[in-house]
């Protein structure tokens, strides 16, 4: 195949314990570490492996978001992507708008395969890949843990609630990846240097002529209910007694 398109979203690093601001106006994101959405790193790793096996020619990474998302695209280039595109917006869009923007990138780039994460760990929406596939009128294989290409088809192993599902899709298609697909590579210093010379196109959202549709508005943020720390028991007999006391046994 010729080309694989990979979506990289800039999100709060998964190690950060996100907190709701005390005035309930949002979550604390000032000064917190930002990273590539972990699922997207896996999506990129998979694309790179496909290319490095000689099954694809080029891997293009796309991010939609503020200009700071260039950092994540540079990381993607350092991992090995050939080119990057930033669709610049004031903040990351809602999934439907994101899918429309990705569709426009698909129409321009004509990839044979689009690999996205199964969800972005900030809003936990898990919608964009399915929506892109719908708007594009192409197959989707979500929550993938294995991807095998065979000419004009792909066979995808999906992690579903009841086990592992095997799905065959015609290309082009959208695949969204789960965590067990692969272990992303570490970026080495020379790769970071090399990545500085790779092309990174910036496109203004306005130039795409995409109108955002009706968007749900967030009207309040609150912290989740906290569980109370319970009691420590000293032995199995104590544990059994405590459970019996609470009517659990």
């Amino acid at each position: 195949m010729d080309k694989i398109l990979v979506g990289l979203k800039r999100v709060v690093d998964y190690n950060v314990r996100v907190r709701v601001k005390s005035d309930g106006s949002g979550v604390e994101t000032d000064g917190v570490k930002m990273s590539i959405n972990p699922f997207d790193e896996i999506a990129l790793e998979e694309a790179l492996r496909i290319r490095d096996r000689g099954e694809a020619r080029e891997v293009v990474v796309v991010s939609i978001g503020p200009s700071d998302a260039q950092q994540q695209l540079r990381t993607g280039l350092a991992m090995g992507a050939d080119r990057a595109i930033l669709v610049e917006t004031s903040s990351a869009p809602d999934p439907l708008t994101g899918a429309r923007i990705l569709l426009e990138m698909v129409n321009r780039e004509k990839p044979d395969l689009v690999i996205l994460g199964k969800q972005a760990i900030d809003n936990d929406n898990s919608q964009t890949g399915q929506m892109l596939a719908a708007l594009w009128g192409r197959p989707q294989a979500t929550f993938a843990s294995k991807l095998a290409l065979d000419g004009t088809k792909a066979t995808v192993t999906r992690e579903v609630d009841s086990g592992l599902e095997l799905l065959e899709v015609d290309l082009p298609a959208v695949v969204t990846v789960d965590l067990r697909m692969n272990e992303p590579r570490y970026v080495k210093l020379p790769d970071i240097m090399k990545a500085k010379k790779k092309p990174l196109d910036q496109i203004a959202l306005a130039s795409l002529g995409i109108s955002t549709g009706a968007v749900a508005s967030v009207t309040a943020f609150e912290p989740p209910q906290q569980r109370q720390k319970g009691v420590m028991v000293s032995d199995v007999a104590g544990l059994v007694a405590a459970m019996k006391d609470k009517g659990l046994l």
Binding site: L96, Q127, T142, K229, V233, S234
Partner: protein, 314 residues
């Protein structure tokens, strides 16, 4: 008029417990008239089962050979067509619904409200973000259909005292052939189902091997519990993926959750927040799991778990 269409999840034979939970969520929408759609190859049996869901007024049975196995690209255009008569379309936030519903939403030109945990009004919902570290209130745009997935741990299913009628329907839309179901490799177990069990015992990386995981299974069997695992235990190959509990696994709400040799990473805790009682056994007294456990016991699991099994058996 609030008309809610709930998309049934089933395996061709039985209704999944997720459907009753979706109906419970639908019933919380003020003034809702609720229909349940069963898309299958020969959905008669499942449709009949669905007629007993309390609070619904109709089951719509859509039979089509293409619906033999749920493929989102095939189901979505049918549901999008049906949706014209409804204000709300709900599915479960299981892998079935999470795969399907956003495709439906895109065809209807709306965003989806993912993981609804509470209904505040016909267009106002609460849902978790950042792995449950924040809860947001979202207002879906008026004048557009609401497409949502229902967070399973937030609802108890409605009971089966209903007596709705079934209506057969056929939907004239062209269905794509570009996506083909090949097979499902399902873990076979006669243990309780992880997502609906009232008791769950989970093991983590500390178990060390799939043989050692046997002690988790034995403890679970002693109390009739389902078995779960941390991601680390699944990644290491001790147990299959469908047993994973957490942000990227199953989000559960049992009466009793026993975490053994699990540190309590935030992504794991996301999956058990709604458990009524959490018990933890870990050799590290500072493990974060103890911050949320109702009862904690510090020590070596290889000694304590068999002891506990004996105590519970007798």
């Amino acid at each position: 008029m609030v008309k809610v269409l709930v998309i049934a999840e089933h395996d061709g034979k039985r209704l999944n417990a997720s459907t009753a939970k979706c109906v419970a969520c639908a019933a919380a929408i003020p003034g809702a008239d609720i229909h349940v759609a069963v898309l299958g190859e020969n959905g008669e049996r499942v449709a009949r089962e669905a007629t007993s869901l309390a609070g619904i007024s109709k089951v719509i049975q859509i039979d089509n050979a293409a619906n033999a196995y749920p493929v989102a690209a095939v189901l979505a255009p049918q549901i999008a067509k049906l949706a014209a008569a409804y204000t709300h379309i709900l599915g479960p936030s299981t892998t079935f619904g999470r795969d399907l519903m956003p495709r439906v939403a895109a065809l209807l030109n709306v965003n989806q409200i993912s993981d609804i945990m509470q209904v505040l009004g016909s267009h106002t919902f609460k849902r978790p973000i950042y792995a449950g570290n924040a809860i947001v209130t979202v207002e879906a745009p008026a004048g557009h259909p609401v497409v949502g997935t229902v967070r399973m741990a937030s609802y108890r299913g409605v009971d089966n005292t209903g007596k709705a009628a079934t209506e057969r329907a056929s939907i004239g839309v062209e269905l794509p052939k570009h996506t083909r179901f090949i097979s499902l490799q399902a873990g076979k177990s006669d243990r309780p189902d992880l997502q609906t069990a009232s008791r769950v015992v989970s093991g983590g990386r500390a178990l060390g091997s799939s043989e050692n995981f046997g002690i988790i299974f034995r403890l679970a069997d002693a109390i009739g519990a389902a078995v779960g695992a941390s991601r680390a235990a699944v990644d290491a190959g001790f147990v299959p993926n469908e047993m994973q509990v957490g942000q990227t696994g199953k989000i559960i709400a049992p009466e009793l959750y026993i975490a053994i040799g699990i540190s309590g990473a935030i992504q794991h805790l996301t999956g058990i927040k709604d458990a009524r009682t959490i018990v933890a056994i870990n050799k590290d007294g500072d493990a974060p799991i103890f911050e949320v456990a109702d009862f904690g016991l510090v020590g070596d699991l290889f000694k304590l778990v068999p002891e506990l099994e004996q105590a519970l058996k007798s």
